[in-house]
Amino acid sequence: MQGSASPKLTANAVACRRGDRLLFRGLSFELSGGDALHITGANGTGKTTLIRVLGGLTTPYAGDVTREGMLGLLDERPALDPDLPLGKALAFWTKIDSAAPGGDVSDARRVLGLEPLLEVPVRYLSTGQRKRAGLAALMGRDAKIWLLDEPLSGLDVAAIDQVTGLIADHVARGGIALIASHQVLAIEGLRTLELGDYAPRQMAGDAA
């Protein structure tokens, strides 16, 4: 279904600001199929902003981003209707992503332990359960490039292992994963990018 072309994600001298404050500048990298990049940095260094820029949701202050391949985003908001039971909320995204085979979705639900929760309205789910539901929606898609904003926050120890494994599988299948996280990630071949290193000079002192 997906073209055989390897996915690509490149950032070229990207700079971002929030309000009047320059968060980082001169950020460049190039990721292709099978690459995983871990974005680290103190709170407020712009990890979420970077992810949104890479996803094309906001425009960078300077520089440019190119993407080849479908993007998938997992952030703090799983985009599931709080009033609907989880099964129905997920079914909406399955319908939108009708190109993806149905088997993948139910696989993802089983692996992530969501089967017993399908009748529960989304607003009653815990943070970790919501996070897993968002990941199931992401896995149901045919996205080659995963942008993950704090994918492990709120997860219990077993789920952290599971999710890390899922990310590693995705990368091993030739996908790209870009993970902004404070946690340590056990993924083979993971590169790390410290966002604080790209902060403007007067800010670098504060962040250290």
Binding site: R52, G55, G56, L57, T58, T59, L71, G72, L73, D75, E76, R77, P78, A79, L80, D81, P82, D83, F92, W93, K95, I96, D97, S98, A137, R141, A143
Partner: protein
Amino acid sequence: MIAALLKRDLGKFFPFAGGGAALPVVFFIAVAMLYPFAVGPDANLLSRTGGGVVWIAALLAAILPLEKLVAQDIELGTFDQLRLRGITEEAMMAVRLVAHWLSFGPPLVLAAFPAAALLNLDGPTLHLLLVGLLVGTPGLAAIGLMIAALTASLRAGAALSGLLLVPLALPILIFGAGALARQDAASLGFVAAISLLLVAIAPFAAGAAIRAAREV
């Protein structure tokens, strides 16, 4: 894809589908019920002024769903996820406009029958009222959608949207209610023209507003 989106939006906003979305219709009927008590049971006065009251009730009822119309999906990240799937903001807003109108336009047109009975409106007046509401409510929906999208990222957005809708909806009200006063169907043509223009602009204006709301 668009069909799935429309189905979800309708499920969210259609009356009786849950979430208290029947409120605009209840509000509309309540105004028509209370008005005779407020001005007294003079049948002549009621039939002369009743049509205008129905129009005001329709306009105010259109404000009620605005709070949830756009802001909630920005908060949930739904629009972001749809964007990543290659659906443009304009398409999302066009679908939402259809869902929003379907959720209050036709129900208000139906509710105009009991309202007309309560206000002693005669046949020709009811006819003009129904046609007027049918062509005017899409315009009200379009104004509502644009305002909801523009105010979605503001903290007092809900209160502001009510204030903003009233002056913008005045042309529709003037021509819509004016048709009743003069028993003249021609001014409904103006209502239809205004509605058409607003419906054409709304998806683009609201889509741009959603994109702008991300750049904070």
